[in-house]
């Protein structure tokens, strides 16, 4: 455990010593802030119209009209951010040869993997914190229901952990960061698009494929519904990816 934290700390330091961490946080903060601004502006306008008796429709809710779409949107941006975070994890160490230091130190492979994954996850949490600034404004003035917000963030965390584990796996397979990044991006995109291909299909294959989509499982979290089925999906995906990462790292020793 000590080793995991040690490597995690080192990863975080490298992220914050390079522009990656700041770039990812700034881009996410800007995009999320802009979408948040638009959503809140529309919400306020619509509420005013309704108050003047001119709008129709049901009661307005900060949770349904602002927070839910925003968290869903954050989940989508995560698909684009995760490759930027994970591409260097192993690829860079393989290229510069520092992987030899890690693999010849008295540390287990799994400790290296968990440390790196945890470091990436913490950076991802920092990125999510940027969006919490905006949500905090809503809490101050909009009095939303907090439970769905927390469940939504838990969902983002699980989804992120899952994608980061996949990214880590891909990063062990090449010594080229760019290739690792692009491959991770397309695989994340594929996992996301799976739900599109099968949206109007109800055959068994479609159900299975749909189940594999990483976004399908986020929908419930977005609504504030904590379903053990989705949690299990994310946890098992994480476990599988990290396990494959350890296999891939092991095979590196045989090939290197």
């Amino acid at each position: 455990m000590k080793n995991v934290l040690l490597i995690c700390q080192k990863e975080l330091r490298s992220y914050f010593a390079s522009p990656i961490a700041y770039a990812v946080m700034a881009i996410f903060g800007l995009i999320f802030g802009w979408v948040f601004y638009n959503a809140s502006r529309d919400f306020v306008r619509y509420t005013l119209l309704q108050a003047q008796g001119m709008g129709q429709g049901g009661p307005m809710s900060v949770n349904d009209q602002i927070i839910r779409p925003l968290l869903g949107f954050a989940g989508t941006i995560a698909l684009f951010m995760v490759p930027m975070i994970t591409m260097r994890l192993f690829a860079e160490e393989k290229r510069t040869g520092t992987i030899e230091l890690l693999l010849t130190s008295p540390v287990k492979d799994i400790e290296i993997i968990l440390g790196k994954w945890l470091g990436a996850l913490l950076l991802y949490v920092c990125v999510l914190l940027m969006s919490m600034l905006n949500i905090a404004l809503l809490v101050l003035w909009g009095k939303p229901d907090l439970r769905p917000v927390l469940v939504g963030y838990l969902g983002l965390l699980l989804q992120g952990g899952c994608l980061l584990a996949i990214g880590a796996l891909i990063s062990t397979m090449t010594r080229n960061q760019i290739i690792a990044g692009i491959a991770t991006f397309f695989i994340s995109l594929l996992l996301w698009l799976l739900s599109w291909f099968t949206a109007f299909d109800s055959s068994v294959t479609a159900t299975v494929v749909n189940y594999m989509s990483i976004v399908t499982h986020f929908e419930n979290f977005g609504k504030g519904v904590l379903d053990s089925k989705d949690v299990v999906f994310y946890l098992s995906m994480m476990f599988l990816s990290l396990f494959l990462t350890s296999r891939s790292l092991e095979s590196l020793r045989w090939r290197a």
Binding site: S14, T96, E100, L101, T104, P106, V107, R253
Partner: protein
């Protein structure tokens, strides 16, 4: 301390190391010598548990590299060919990370960093970014990293590559100072390195073991008899070269005399002694008693360079041939 038995490492198409066996005693400093691509790095990677062997066994301090890798890694400090450095870290920060990774407690780490920065002369750059350091400093940071947990065994892959002559001498001195308490294996393709630093030498070529012995023994083994270069003054055409040759051949203890050249009023011979005989005094006497002028007389030693070329180029048979010819060292 280190024991390698029948070690073989095969990659997809090539055999990098082919059935190598050797042992290294505690406290020895051993040079691992071979041309580029001979399998030095592969053998070292097996010893450091970075690569598993295809077949055969390797153990460090009694722990097998495959069955007990963590115990082996705890006892080994490894400097790979390219020092494994993180350019975005400061030197002391990097050493702290490496030390903690190798199991030094946070209470002891500061003391260890002081110790290794002192030994590797890194005091002035402790707070510099590694990415900004020159090649020589980086090499020394890599060495400090290998020494940080005070390991029993140091495995150094080309520790002096990229250093300037002064730094090379410093590193050699450091390694010699470390030798008593640590067991050191260092690889190199530079022979002078081994002659200056190591007590023992393991020569490998194309993945096979070519020779393993102490540096002194190896030199002796390949030239059991003494070879002496003699130069006699022959200004004005006197004496006659054949005459001199006959005189030298008659000196006690001489096995054969080869005339190397005769020009500008000087005649050069290479004289070989019988096994275990010292003939320099006899030769001097023979020349002087005949009334000739002796210009020069010195023992010709085969350098490791010659031995190495003989061993790696054509194997043992050719080495024997060369010895008989008594090729002089220039």
């Amino acid at each position: 301390m280190i024991k390698v038995e029948g070690l073989t490492k095969r990659y997809a198409r090539t055999v990098a190391v082919d059935n190598i066996s050797f042992e290294v005693e505690k406290g020895q400093i051993v040079g691992f010598l071979g041309p580029n691509g001979a399998g030095k790095t592969t053998t070292m990677r097996v010893l450091t548990c970075f690569l598993p062997p295809t077949s055969g066994k390797a153990s460090v301090a009694g722990f097998d590299v495959q069955e007990n890798p963590l115990e082996v890694k705890r006892r080994i400090g490894y400097l790979p060919e390219t020092p494994p450095l993180y350019p975005e870290m400061e030197v002391s920060e990097y050493l702290r990370f490496a030390g903690r990774l190798k199991g030094i407690s946070s209470a002891d780490i500061a003391k260890r960093i002081d110790e290794v920065t002192g030994r590797c002369a890194l005091g002035d750059v402790r707070n510099r970014l590694i990415g900004k350091l020159s090649k020589g400093f980086r090499q020394r940071v890599g060495l400090a990293q290998a020494m940080i947990h005070n390991p029993d065994v140091l495995i150094l892959d080309e520790p002096t590559s990229g250093l300037d002559p002064k730094q090379i001498i410093e590193i050699r001195e450091l390694l010699r100072a470390l030798a008593g308490e640590h067991t050191i294996i260092l690889s190199t393709h530079i022979l002078a390195e081994v002659e200056h630093t190591c007590e023992h030498v393991i020569i490998i070529n194309k993945g096979r073991l070519a020779a393993i012995d102490s540096v002194a023994n190896l030199t002796n083994r390949l030239r059991g008899a003494e070879a002496v270069a003699v130069e006699v003054d022959a200004a004005g055409g006197q004496p006659n070269p054949t005459e001199v040759q006959q005189r030298l051949e008659q000196a006690p203890g001489v096995s054969r005399v080869v005339m190397k050249d005769s020009k500008d009023g000087r005649i050069r011979f290479e004289v070989e002694s019988l096994q275990g005989r010292h003939i320099r005094a006899e030769l001097a006497r023979a020349v002087v008693n005949a009334g000739w002028n002796l210009n020069e007389l010195h023992a010709v030693g085969l350098s490791l360079e010659d031995i190495f070329l003989q061993l790696t180029a054509a194997g043992q048979g050719a080495a024997e041939e060369n010895r008989k010819e008594g090729e002089p060292k220039q």
